[in-house]
Every structure is written in C-alpha cells, then in structure tokens.
C-alpha cells in the first residue's frame, strides 16, 4: 500500500483504541500506588506474586477454559450446520433465526437464570449443563452472523450441487467442501464465542455459583480485595488467552491446511 487510505487510518485508530485500556490495565497491575499522579508512582511485581500464590486462580482458569471450550465446540457443531442448511436450503427460515438472535439479547441474565432454574431444577440435570445450554443460545448471534457472512462469500449452492452430482451426500459435501472454505470464518467466530464465554458472569453465578468457581467469579471476588490484583488477573488471563487462541489458530489452520483464497 503506497498511500495511507481511510482503511489503514481507521485500522490504526481502532487498534490504538483497543490497545489503550489494555495498556492501562497492565500498568495498573504493575503499579505500587497510582491515585493522584499521571503515571504510577512505582512499579512492582508483588500483585502478580500474590496472585500466583493462590492456587484458586489456576483452578478457576482451568474451569473457565473447560466450560468455554466445550461449550464453544458444542455450539459450533450444533449451530453452524443448521445455519448452513437454513441459509442455503430454506432461506425463509432465516428471518426466524434472526428473530431468535435478537431475542437472545432481550432476556436479561438474571431473568434468564430464574426462568431456567424454575424449569429445570428438580429435573435431575446438573445446573452446569443448563448453564452450558444457556451459553449455546448466547453464542447464537456470533456463530450465526459469522457463518452467514462466510457463506455469503462462497458460491455454496453450486459447489454443493457439483459435489452431490459426484456422489457425495449432503453431509459429506458440507464437511469436505463447504466447511474448509468457510473455516476461517468459523474459526474467527468460534474464537469470539470462546472469549465471550470466558467473560460471562451473571448466569454462572446464579445458576451454579461458588461450587464451580470460574475465572470471572474469582475476578469479582478479588475486586473487593485489590484493584491491582484484579488487574493482574485480567492481564494474566489476557496473556493465557493470547497463547491459547494463538495455539488454537495454529493447530486448526494446520489440520485444515490449504492455501488461502486470495
């Protein structure tokens, strides 16, 4: 790119905007005192030391990771094929799905939680599964839009036709032809989903609570101890997420290895 166009400029601005609060958090997690000066009065690693001394942190992180990743995988498996077949074969149903997408935002967490407890307590299903179910629905918007946006880029219909004529079942055609082509889109929305689940607090707190302390529960508990430690948690969890998502991207890319469509 020879000249700085609007896209590059807005990219730079967006990145800066996204970066600043992260930087602030990092700084705060390393600050000794920072309450009336522009920059921290001093730097220290004690907050991190204090944090890493607490085994609850890693346990909580592990629980969050487990819950988020399993739920994300389940959501991808349930939602992506459904969105695909609706977009390609029954576009009329799309409006309905879009309505559901909007409604997922209309039910506030507390109300959702109470409704779910009322319905499913006593059913014998562990609440953690109910929570996961609610998460599936919560991921619908991201996976729906991500999948749909990738499908728009593909001549999905004619590729399916070609594959079927060659003897592939719809399912095979979907897995062998469509999925690899929309993989980058699915991956991106799955990552997004994963991150969003990682940050969820209200549902897990009311539905399951302290018996399954996730990172967010831990974070909220720590907020009443020290803002520095809470920041250290956020920073650590960012770093871990960076490593994990980086690995996921790398791994998934390899297993679906193909040269990218330009």
């Amino acid at each position: 790119m020879k000249r700085i166009g609007l896209p590059s400029l807005s990219f730079a601005l967006v990145m800066l905007y996204l970066f600043l609060p992260v930087a602030a958090t990092v700084l705060y997690s390393l600050a000794t005192e920072w309450n009336s000066t522009v920059l921290p009065e001093g730097l220290t690693g004690k907050w991190f030391a204090e944090l890493y001394g607490d085994p609850r942190f890693l346990q909580a992180f592990g629980r969050s990771f487990l819950l988020s990743s399993l739920t994300t995988v389940a959501a991808v498996v349930i939602i992506v094929p459904a969105v695909f077949s609706i977009v390609v074969y029954a576009p009329r149903l799309e409006r309905l799905v879009q309505l559901f997408v909007m409604l997922t935002y209309a039910v506030p967490g507390v109300i959702m939680a109470v409704g779910l407890i009322r319905t499913y307590s006593g059913s014998g299903i562990p609440m953690i599964f109910i929570t996961a179910g609610a998460y599936l629905v919560g991921l619908l918007p991201y996976l729906y839009q991500g999948t749909r946006n990738s499908l728009l880029a593909l001549q999905a219909r004619s590729l399916m036709e070609a594959a079927e004529l060659l003897g592939a079942s719809r399912w095979q055609a979907f897995v062998r032809i469509i999925v690899p082509n929309i993989m980058s889109g699915i991956l991106v929305s799955a990552l997004l989903s994963f991150s969003i689940l990682f940050g969820e607090f209200v549902l897990i707190n009311i539905l399951v609570g302290g018996r399954f302390e996730t990172l967010q529960l831990y974070l909220y508990a720590k907020l009443s101890t020290s803002g520095h430690i809470a920041s250290a948690i956020t920073v650590t969890y960012f770093a871990l997420m960076a490593v994990i998502t980086g690995l996921i991207v790398k791994f998934t890319r390899r297993s679906f290895a193909r040269k990218e469509v330009s």
Binding site: V110, V114, I117, N205, I206, G209, R211, S224, G227
Partner: protein, 341 residues
C-alpha cells in the same frame, strides 16, 4: 446430594443444640449465598465451622434480591442453605415463605427491631453509615453533615436505584436534616444541593475506585469503610460516623426453607451469634448485633469507638421505610440526578 429431603415443616424449636450439632455433622456441609470470605470476615467463621464441626463450605456471592430469587426458583432442588440479606429482605422472604425459622440460644440478647418474632430472620451484625475520606485528596476530612455541605470536594454515595447502602445514605441525610423514614425529602434536598454545585460524584464507592483515587469522600457502611481503609492503606483514609445523625441497619441471616443441610445452616446461625462468631464479624469491621457479646481484644480494636455512634439509630418504622424506598429511585432521578448532567 443424597441427604434426606428436608421436611418443610421441620420444627426447629423442638431441637436441642446437641441434636443440631450432631445432625449438622452428619450433613457435613453448608452452602451459603451472599456470604463471601471477604465480606464481614465470613471467611474466618466458615473456617471455624469447618474446624470445629467438619462442615465443608462454598459460597456464591450475589445480591439480596438474587438470593431470594434463587431460593424461590430452586424450591426443593435447593443449592443454598443459608443467606445474608439486607434487613428489608427479611420480612419479604418470610412473606414469600422461603425461610425456615430458627431462634438461636442467644435470641433474647438481640434487640427486637433486629429479629423476626418467629425466628425467620435475625440480624447478625449492624452497619452504620460513615464518612470515608481520602486524605490525599481532601485536607480536612468532614466530621459532620455540616462539614460535608460546606466542603469543596465531591461526595460519592453509590447507586440509589439499586443499592441498599446508598438509599440508607439518603435516609441518614434526612435524619440529620429533620426528616425521617416517612419524610425523606430533607435527605433528597441535601443531595440535590450537592448535585447542583457539581459536588455529587457518580462513581461507585468500590474498593478499586477508592484505591485508584477516583473518590474523595464516600458515604458507606462503617464496616465497608474500615475494610477499604485497612486493605488499601490505613493512613490514607479517614473514617468517622457523622456527628448529627446516622442510620444503623444490618444484615439478616435467612435459612432456606428447602435447605439440603438445614441443621448445618442452623448451626451456622448459632455460631454467628455466639461470642466467637460475633468476634469474627467484628474483625471484619461489622458491629456485632449482640451488645453483650464478649469480643476478644483484636476484634474490639478493629471497631470505631463506641461514642461515635451516639447519634446513630436504626429505622423506626420498617413498613414506612419500605414504602419510601420504593419511591426513592424516582425522586432521586427527578430531583437529584437531573442536576448531575
């Protein structure tokens, strides 16, 4: 959970303390809501219960309304045995039939305003609204409502729409200016005045915000104020109970009617009201409800001097306050927040 289903009509008055202890030990665990380790030093209490009676414990922190909603929604499938709610929620929980009544051995030591006749709820500790001042921001910490009025700093009271603590701050101001729970207007006027002068801060007086220096003066429960002060920096903050008037209120324990571990929950309430339990609370800066509790020295040292509390009083007419509290959010919005923006 394979324990025997708790009988909704379990008659707790027939049980002796020994029986309760024994059954609680069998139950082996107790699950609470809204009673996290860091709040009012509950952590130590749970630790003691574990040590002395082998009760395992988990807590899920949530607001009072959420606690009741959870009790109500879960019914027999209860996951919480005991909860700690703002005083107003005690009668409400009783009215909704969510509670198991239990009067502890210390029942008579507890002032009447702080307990339900039938034992559905009972306060474990009280809080009184205090002024918390960041001395790095404000040179002369206010000692009275009059000081507040004449100062030049911003004052944070938190969320009047939602938080118990903030609503009581308005009530305290009303007391100080000739109003009461039936006539909240003087309190509202006081803050409206501050707002007009751009002196009402909208930040939440939370630990992190205080630590960051967002807040100059906050009106918070004394136990919160002391806790924040000690956690951040003992020398940075000043805590006082305003001279003219303040409100005391407290938090009540509720035992879930459908508790899976009802005896453990009863034992927990018993312990909380015991001298040891009350000392634990005091170490968490909460003022024990039992005036006659024998506190150990380390606990006493954590509290503000008794004489500061001479003008603090509990809410006289809870029903009137309930009515007022319902109207308060809108009054606040219309008469105070309107000057904030």
């Amino acid at each position: 959970a394979t324990e025997t289903k708790s009988d909704a009509t379990l008659d707790t008055s027939q049980l002796t303390l020994e029986q309760i202890v024994e059954k609680a030990k069998q139950e082996g665990e107790v699950n609470s809501v809204g009673m996290p380790d860091t709040w009012a030093n509950w952590g130590e209490t749970w630790g003691n219960l574990q040590k002395e009676y082998g009760l395992k414990h988990t807590d899920t922190d949530m607001s009072s309304a959420e606690e009741l909603a959870k009790f109500e929604a879960e019914k027999e499938d209860a996951t919480a045995d005991i909860g700690d709610v703002g005083i107003a929620f005690g009668p409400l929980a009783k009215q909704k039939g969510l509670t198991l009544p239990y009067k502890t051995s210390y029942w008579n030591d507890i002032p009447d305003w702080a307990k339900d006749d039938e034992g559905h709820w009972v306060l474990g500790y009280t809080g009184t609204l205090a002024f918390l001042t960041d001395k790095t921001k404000v040179q002369n910490p206010p000692k009275s409502w009059a000081d507040l009025k004449s100062g030049s700093y911003k004052i944070a009271i938190g969320d009047v729409m939602k938080a118990n603590q903030a609503q009581f701050a308005v009530l305290a101001a009303a007391y100080a200016h000739g109003g009461d729970e039936k006539n909240i207007q003087p309190g509202v006027d006081f803050f409206a005045d501050l707002a007009k002068n751009k002196r009402l801060s909208t930040s939440d007086p939370s630990l992190a915000n205080l630590e960051k220096g967002e807040i100059e003066v906050a009106i918070v429960w004394d136990f919160n104020a002391l806790g924040y002060r000690d956690k951040i920096d003992k020398n940075r903050f000043d805590v006082i109970i305003p001279e003219e008037a303040s409100v005391s209120s407290g938090y009540a324990t509720l035992i879930n009617k459908y508790a899976k571990h009802p005896h453990a929950a009863m034992l927990a309430r018993e312990y909380i009201l015991s001298d040891a339990g009350q000392s634990n609370l005091a170490r968490g800066y909460a003022r024990p409800i039992r005036a006659n509790a024998k506190l150990d020295e380390s606990a006493k040292a954590k509290l503000l001097p008794e004489e500061m509390y001479k003008n603090a009083r509990p809410v006289g007419d809870l029903n009137a306050w309930e009515e007022t509290a319902k109207k308060l959010p809108q009054l606040w919005q219309e008469q105070v927040l309107i000057h904030v923006r």
